[in-house]
Point group: D2
Chain length 347, copies 4
């Protein structure tokens, strides 16, 4: 299964083509809508005011409600655009956005409005594609869950039991500990009031993958496959499996996961390896944490350069700002993980 | 350029085939030997006692000292094997090694001796391939450097200036601050004396990549390309770009890299993004840190399972142990980064 | 550059996503419409009566008339569908169509109406994508031309000079010799009157590719790249380069193309190799002939099997039949060749 | 499964790395030797006098006689080289060889001795890899057979029953009709005596592939997959499926393969489509014919160009010539077909 995400923030539509979807899958439109709603903006004070309706239209690949195996195309029309807000950034790139890098790459021919093809809005078709992947996984007894592990240094409760992630999926603010979630919200609102934004991290688990998938080599390595999908999500700057960066502080005797037998099944007593040894699944949940940088769109004035004159200048971006995208990114990370899991399964 | 690493720790040889190497490159055999020497074991008390000679034989792709553009094959014969040491692990997998996952994947048909194809020894051909990649980069004014950023929590000096990495390449123990390096060595020797091992982290920079390479999408995203190469290095469990996990603690106003003009060139005043915005290079050094788990091979008894009986058991692995591989992995991480940089350049 | 063609004959729309299109290309909508008109049906008595309007809508990847380098999506809405005509084939596959093979592949979940995703109608987005490829080639002085080389055994004049193909592009019936074209038309009409169809062949040339592209190995071999694109065109059953099947009848002294110097440029006096030696372009036009089987849709009763009962039965397909698609396939073959040429160029 | 063929005719060794071989396959070294013997030269008066021993050494991927799933590397040392014979062609390319195209591609840095990486000798590792693929197919009840369908216009008997191909495999000169084979031999010897060479064609069948594999789209199309593998075989200039070029002469009513039921299985009464409809297998044998150009190495003087001076010149190539490679190419075409069939099966 491979996919291409297409569209621009202020173009006519965004969408995705999924090639290689197994035939006979009853497409869960309700599920797709639910995931899109989870990542949509405009619902509350925590995100940008852009109202996203995100009605999905299936253009191809489905017949009588079921996938046919032919390329599956889903399109979401754009709306509520304030393109004029972005005139200022055409030749004055916003720091840490794709504006400048994209300008160089395209020789100046990029759609700068609202970030164009670099927009976080492009995570909507990714979430839709991920829902299809999750359906495929569900048929094999595999599920994906995630929670906000931290925002601006405020950490959610530690994930003791991956099953706890199932309950989190229905929350508007997906944390294990709602009190911590409330602190996070306050941090977001505080940043917002100061025209700033905050970063965070998301912890994700793929539960039910059988042992023996993947390989140690470049191209089939499970960590590499997941990382490739995850880094394609805007704002992701780090991917750490299992105990993650803490492994650098450990001794082998602490880090090693002893084998054990539970209900006749070989498991590991701990899961510091995040379910992967030698690039291959070991039957334990595949777990990882992604680091998400703060939204670069802030309302404060920032230093930039005028690309026409090559001179330093200041930019203050008007329009709608998103003080934090971590909570809304949870279904997107799950979507990327689900697509990665399908690749690992050879789908 | 694509590569396949082949061989097993206790087979007749290990090696690599590199396809798509540009023609006309004067192959730097001296440089290859130097990189292999940096990662070789047996030189001092810090690593396993296995004596690796690592003589590289070029089987194909080079004529009159220059690459021809045809597949370049390099082979390193194996030697100094103590295969009998590994009989015990045939059906009793070592915790956090690829033994069990590989056993399941291969239906029991894996070469278990010394880790077989999962062995850290396979990083030798990777280092050789990486040297070819570095030559290609050098012709374009691009270089790769790295240092040990931490071992068992002991941190090297912060990297203020990427140019400092050039001096580190000649050190047997590649740190910026040799006093910190000495502390790290002590930590390794202490772990060794307790039959244990330690983890650490490596910080790496690719300097000189032009702006405008890569793309936001899956498959061409620069972070994704680097991550795919880096996770194929044994022991790597995390890859974090730029300021890395610290970005989750930041506000946008801190994390954003303001644009500036230096010597008529557009740069960013800071480089928290690690030289990548929107999946595209922005002309700043591409920087990242990889987390390396402790070597799973330790001499302490550990809990395992007998794969024949399905019963829990204990395993004590005899033979040579490597209390830390972080210092030796530095040239390997550089090699993986160089191969990734070639991909990003479209080579 | 890679592409995915999507859609079904009787779905809401068909289209294509092109990834990796160079930025800054002024999209030639007029050219796209012209190519779609060349391959459209319903214009005259030679093809099916389905009226295809084929209005192309660009959904993404173009800003202010120029490509941005982001995925380029083109969509063509469907219309004039007579879906009920196809109820009979749901469980009774038409001989030599994709009906049965597709039924097995999809476990019965395919859109059988009008051939679904297997429909010749899917060549419309391919022609559109090919026009983009041709624009990219034109900027490099490369062009693609083709003519009907035969229909039902009636052969067009031999192609003495590839430049002659430029004049053929404007013809409704693209042959070098219009008298032969008239004979071909008669053969088509005769077959049509007998409720039958006819096959043929198309000869194509890509002119202007520089020498030195491609390679002998699997994956980069020029013949292999072209063939992969050409066989993805419905009805193509053979691809033969240069002198083609006649090479099997030759001696080396006849087949070999002697080198010569013309205007200071190294050329070959003949071009039996079709511009490719050792899998690499030699600077001569890349030439090949594709064999197109007769349209399998005929109005005569044919032997089939009822997929529900597993019993032999007869099928007479109602609705619109296309007695020959060779003339309409000319722009499609050119499109596939242009996409292949872009791949060979590394675009 | 993917492979890289490496080596040069006059280098130290040639070989292949196969990635993705299923684990647990008992490697049939005898079978590999047998296939290598079929394609080896020097056995009789029909081929070049170069004595090829072709001893295969397995460098990796096999343990205790079975594949491990790790990359499988097979190497064949070179010998009996007369490199000095080739000094004349260093700057004077042989017509219709890869010499000139390769020279341009490599900027002059190619191993010109004996064709270097372009040599027909590289078909030895391909035959070895193909034998592994055939073993994998055999476990699934699939086999590959081929015969010389024509040499210099002398045609073998028509293939009425694909089962007849099984008997041909043991023949030194693989034809159905030995009398025709004798005529072919005479044609070869006659060409040889006139210092010339002859072309021909090979017909191949893959028997036992289940229906429902592949797809209509670029990249998964069965014809495209086979063609990509076949065109990577040196000397192949055309690939035609089923009835092949004859389809261009047919009417739909002749070409269409009526469905029928035999022993409770859906089959087609004829197989003009070569077992593929809409890019998908239909359960019938996949059949195709490849056109092989005459060996370009002939002993007659030929027109060429001196690459140093850019002036026309004459070349007479000394050394060993192969008046025909078609008979020796039969196992190579089978090997390529077997590798293609594995791809189609998703192996």
């Amino acid at each position: 299964m491979r996919h291409i995400i297409f569209g621009e923030s202020h173009g006519s539509a965004i969408g995705v083509v999924l090639e290689g979807v197994p035939a006979g899958l009853e497409l869960d439109m309700e599920g797709i809508r639910a995931q899109l709603a989870r990542r949509a903006t405009g619902k509350n004070s925590l995100s940008t005011a852009r109202k996203e309706k995100d009605e999905v239209q299936v253009l191809s690949g489905v017949f009588e409600g079921k996938t046919t195996g032919a390329p599956l195309t889903m399109v979401i029309a754009n709306g509520d655009q304030h393109s004029s807000d972005y005139e200022a950034i055409r030749y004055t790139p916003r720091p840490s956005h794709g504006d400048y890098a994209g300008y160089v790459k395209s020789g100046g021919c990029l759609d700068y409005r609202g970030g164009g093809h670099f927009s976080g809005r492009l995570t909507a078709p990714l979430a839709a594609a991920g829902t299809v992947a999750r359906q495929i996984l569900a048929e094999r007894g595999i599920w994906v869950g995630a929670h906000i592990s931290s925002i601006y240094g405020i950490c959610d409760a530690a994930l003791e039991d991956v099953e706890d992630l199932q309950a989190v999926a229905d929350k508007e603010f997906p944390v294990l500990d709602d009190a911590k979630g409330e602190e996070m919200r306050q941090a977001i609102l505080e940043a917002k009031s100061e025209m700033d934004s905050v970063g965070g991290a998301i912890e994700c688990a793929v539960v039910g993958l059988p042992a023996g998938l993947g390989g140690p080599d470049f191209g089939c390595n499970v960590e590499g496959i997941f990382a490739q999908h995850l880094f394609a999500v805007p704002a992701v700057k780090g991917v750490d499996f299992g105990a993650g960066v803490a492994l650098s502080l450990m001794r082998g005797s602490e880090a090693n996961d002893p084998f054990a037998v539970r209900d006749g099944r070989i498991v590991t007593a701990t899961n510091h390896a995040g379910g992967i040894n030698g690039g291959i699944t070991n039957g334990m949940p595949v777990t990882f944490e992604v680091t998400m940088r703060p939204t670069p769109s802030i309302a404060l004035p920032q230093r930039s350069v005028d690309l026409r004159t090559g001179e330093e200048t200041e930019i203050t971006v008007k329009g709608r700002h998103d003080p934090c995208i971590v909570h809304r990114a949870v279904p997107v990370i799950e979507a990327a993980a689900a697509l990665a899991a399908c690749t690992v399964l050879g789908i």
